[in-house]
């Protein structure tokens, strides 16, 4: 298994804007060189104001997402309140570290809006949280997307600009990466709404 993180392929990216955040992912689900499906969901709405994107081994993407859904649902019921994005970001880190010696092969990105303020956090597979930057990437096409982000990104973009920039960065990155692509999905979250747009990438 040369690279368990590369087995299924896939890329994700998250970006902060002015009172908004955006998350994008590709749609490929592959098994090494074969493509199995082109509509695999990798960005999940955890709560009205929190998005979770996952890249890595698809079975773990699914399981980790289900685990986070369970945690937030129980939290809502027990505490009788919504979870803050920063709390969720910390929860993801704890949940990953809990499996320190048998980890989930995923690299998550959490994005959210806390009282209007954009929150973005990324992690390695064992829960090292980093919330310092204005954009973050993950997955096999990550490094290609980084290049595009550095070129296109500027701080405090409005939702329309942000959607354009994150979309173009994702597409540029995925088009170069053999294991990512077959379409892209862009999520833009503002205080008022969440918009979802499907993009076309190189169909290969």
């Amino acid at each position: 298994m040369s690279g368990i993180f590369e087995y299924n392929g896939g890329s994700i990216v998250g970006m902060k804007g002015k009172n908004c955040i955006a998350m994008a992912c590709d749609r490929r689900f592959g098994q090494q060189m074969s493509t199995i499906t082109t509509n695999y969901q990798k960005v999940f709405k955890i709560q009205d104001n929190i998005l979770l994107a996952l890249s890595g081994l698809n079975t773990d993407i699914h399981t980790f997402y289900a685990l986070m859904e369970k945690e937030i649902n129980l939290y809502n019921l027990k505490e009788n309140r919504k979870m803050k994005p920063t709390t969720f970001a910390n929860l993801v880190a704890s949940a990953l570290y809990e499996r320190r010696f048998g980890p989930f092969f995923v690299t998550p990105i959490v994005a959210g809006l806390e009282n209007g303020k954009p929150i973005l956090a990324t992690y390695d597979s064992i829960g090292c949280k980093s919330d310092l930057d204005d954009f973050q990437v993950g997955g096999t096409g990550g490094n290609y997307i980084y290049g595009a982000c550095e070129a296109f990104f500027k701080p405090d973009m409005n939702p329309e600009e942000l959607e354009e920039v994150i979309g173009q960065s994702l597409v540029s990155g995925c088009d170069r990466d053999a294991l990512s692509g077959w379409g892209g999905v862009v999520y833009v979250l503002t205080e008022q709404k969440l918009t979802v747009k499907i993009l076309k990438t190189k169909q290969t």
């Binding site: 027990k78 505490e79 803050k84 920063t86 709390t87 910390n90 929860l91």
Partner: protein
Amino acid sequence: MTDFALTTFSSKGKLLQIEYALNAVAKGDTAIGIKAKNGVVLVVEKKQSSILVEESSVQKVALLTDNIAATYAGLGPDFRVLAQQARKLVKKYDLKYQEEIFVQTLSRELAEDVQVATQRGGIRPFGVSILIAGYDEEGPHLVQLDPSGAYYSWKATAIGKQAKNAKAFLEKRYNADMEIEDAINTALLTLKEGFEGQITPTNIEVGVIRDDHVFRILPPSQVKDYLEELE
């Protein structure tokens, strides 16, 4: 450890062990809590069995975290154990969420440990009622936790020997617009009402939390000032 429960139902549907635990609480030194609109105060009697006891070594108001503290009426050692369990619960929550725990959440989780002692094999219920006071994002809170595991939120309450009289006194004195300074005075007055002997800065303990979210146990010098104000 035995396999069977020691706390079992009587034919009348009562759990006598819990009733007896409440009796132990009713014999304990009085503790009073009052929630003001900008803080909470806890005062508790600290009657020593002999003048030879080092008064400062007895701590009846225990800090559970920066913004939550507790006191009790009943068996001191049982309180110590529960306070330590509560501190661990706070830290466990903190490690998982890196967030300040709500008073209600802590009360609920601690209540589970107390309830377990009424149902698990081989152990007896805790012989304390606890008053938890704290100030979190939602505001000031005062919660009473009983040996049964039931917990109640109060505006003002008393537990222990003088509970009945103190609560009657509080019902007349309490008003929702109380500020924390009024609450402290009222709490001390209430304790003084049923106090056997002279009330002094060293035979009571006073803990206060204001809207700065920091719980402080008042040093005897400050307690002395408040007591003098009462005169």
